[in-house]
């Protein structure tokens, strides 16, 4: 694993969590101060910033985002922010490092029997079918590097990654 490969991963918009198994090499590479500083300096030269807080690494702009960029960021991350909010509503104590089970999530969702939630799910995933909704919900979280499968063959258990903190920080601004 070299600096070029790490840049390739991060520049694709991957938020690398320290507890991720998939990006273990990248996280280990960036945990070494010299490597972090080297990539940080390189990114700084081309107008970007390497962030490494709350157990995850990601790239942001060196200068602050302007209004239009912030708006565009929120627009692009709308679904995932809503998904994190829903996850936290259904399983309030879920946190990084926890195991998230599809079955448990489904059970809790049914228990809630919340029309508002169902409406929001329908808005994001364009379906009301429970099985579809849950699958798409987990897909979205996985694609956003918030959860990852604990075992390739086990479709039920997922590991909650540190990246959830990043999105929670945004979600909790409205609380």
């Amino acid at each position: 694993m070299g600096i070029d490969e790490v840049f390739k991963v991060l520049s694709k918009g991957v938020m690398v969590s320290l507890n991720s198994q998939k990006y273990l090499d990248v996280a280990h590479f960036l945990m070494i101060d010299e490597n972090f500083d080297e990539l940080s300096t390189l990114l700084d030269k081309i107008g970007f910033k390497l962030n490494g807080q709350n157990g995850c690494f990601y790239i942001s702009k060196k200068e602050s985002m302007n209004e239009a960029e912030l708006h565009s960021f929120l627009k692009n991350h709308k679904d995932v922010l809503v998904a994190v909010a829903i996850l936290k509503q259904i399983l309030p104590y879920i946190d990084r490092g926890n195991t998230l089970k599809q079955t448990e999530f489904t059970h809790q969702y049914i228990q809630k029997d919340d029309a508002g939630l169902a409406q929001k799910f329908e808005y994001i995933f364009e379906t009301r079918d429970l099985k579809d909704v849950v699958e798409k919900f987990f897909d979205l979280l996985e694609k956003s590097y918030i959860i990852e499968r604990k075992d390739r063959d086990n479709k039920d258990e997922y590991l909650v990654l540190s990246a959830i903190e990043y999105y929670l920080k945004i979600v909790e601004r409205v609380v």
Binding site: Y58, K61, S64, Q89, E172, V174
Partner: protein, 365 residues
């Protein structure tokens, strides 16, 4: 005037000479400069002698596009003559003159090679000229270089074969310069390729400039259809397109500073309908309550009902010792529950009458 005096004169008048070299108009100069013919008076103005200008340009490697390379025809003819005279008379004088001419020619080769190099660098880096004029100058230079080819070959061949064997000194001189001369002759081909490539590139640049100019005119006329179409079709490889470009794009996140700037209202709009509560780690503590667990032995009640041959099962239950723990409303409720339970037994027969509590009278038979 001796050479050392000339150097002294140049040193004493260096500022005047430098101003004239930089094309400043001079209305008066020292008479000594005029006497040494370093300056000439033309139409009330003093100008530097062309010979001095050539010397300075050559040493400073400044070559103008107007340079004329000339050929070696004069020197060549003179050499042929001197060779003939030397063979006929075998006089040292001719030999020395042949050596001088060879050295002159070598210097000419050397200077020409350097001048061409400088000229090419100038062509390639010139940003001050109009692109058409630059192309014309490049073509001009190319023609001048082409003219050199024949002269170069002729002199080269003369050095290699015709002058050899005349005298050891001449052979030695020719030998010492042969490698360089060959290099200078070969360089010509290289320079031609270089200028040709420059001309092709410059022509392409001119075409591109024309296209950019046309496009800018169309955009000014608010006709952007062709540009729009191109950007749409090549969005994956173009940096600035109408669609999202994938080429070397760096995906970014909002950092802490950006997050702090996020408009609460915008976020609220996104998260509308989803109510989120901050997860608190304190769990609520329920007050412990003592639950009384009362067990009624129904079988014992049935046994007593059978033994007493009860006329009204409900009343027998209500006043049975098993229910002594209940009073008031609770006693009525518990007694009725047991009455319903016993009422499921086959031995119980219900009459059409109701007792004072409004419950159907039942007997055990």
């Amino acid at each position: 005037m001796k050479h050392i005096d000339l150097i002294k004169l140049l040193q004493e008048n260096r500022e005047t000479i430098d101003r004239a070299y930089k094309n400043e108009e001079l209305v008066s100069v020292d008479d000594a400069l005029l006497d040494a013919t370093l300056f000439l008076k033309i139409n009330k103005r003093y100008k530097l002698n062309k010979n001095y200008l050539n010397f300075a340009d050559s040493i400073l490697q400044r070559v103008d596009y107007s340079i004329i390379f000339g050929d070696y025809e004069k020197e060549y003819k003179q050499l042929v003559k001197l060779k003939r005279s030397y063979i006929e008379s075998n006089q040292e004088y001719y030999k020395i003159n042949i050596q001088k001419l060879i050295e002159n020619l070598y210097e000419k080769f050397f200077n020409r090679d350097r001048e061409i190099q400088v000229l090419i660098v100038r062509l390639e880096s010139d940003r001050s000229l109009d692109i058409d004029i630059l192309l014309a100058e490049a073509n001009n230079t190319l023609e001048k270089i082409y003219e050199l080819i024949d002269g170069n070959e002729k002199v080269g061949e003369f050095f290699r074969s015709d002058l050899r064997g005349l005298h050891g000194d001449i052979d030695e001189l020719l030998q010492s310069i042969s490698v360089d001369i060959l290099k200078y002759i070969e360089n010509i081909g290289k320079y031609i390729d270089q200028i040709n490539s420059f001309i092709v590139q410059t022509k392409k640049r001119r075409e591109l400039n024309v296209k950019v100019m046309q496009l800018s005119h169309r955009l000014l006329d608010e006709d952007s259809s062709s540009l729009d179409e191109y950007l749409r079709l090549h969005h994956e490889t173009c940096y600035f397109t109408q669609l999202r470009s994938q080429k070397n794009r760096v995906q970014i996140f909002a950092d802490d500073n950006d997050i702090s700037k996020m408009n609460r209202k915008d976020l609220q709009e996104i998260l509308d309908l989803v109510t989120v509560k901050r997860a608190t780690k304190d769990s609520s503590i329920k007050e412990q309550s003592c639950e009384k667990l009362d067990i009624i032995d129904v079988d014992k009640i049935i046994e007593d009902i059978v033994k007493e041959k009860s006329e009204d099962i409900y009343l027998s239950i209500k006043y049975h010792g098993e229910l002594s723990g209940y009073v008031g409303k609770h006693l009525v409720e518990e007694a009725f529950k047991v009455y319903l339970h016993i009422g499921t037994k086959d031995e119980v027969v219900f009459s059409k009458q109701f007792n004072e509590h409004g419950v159907k009278v039942a007997k055990w038979v």
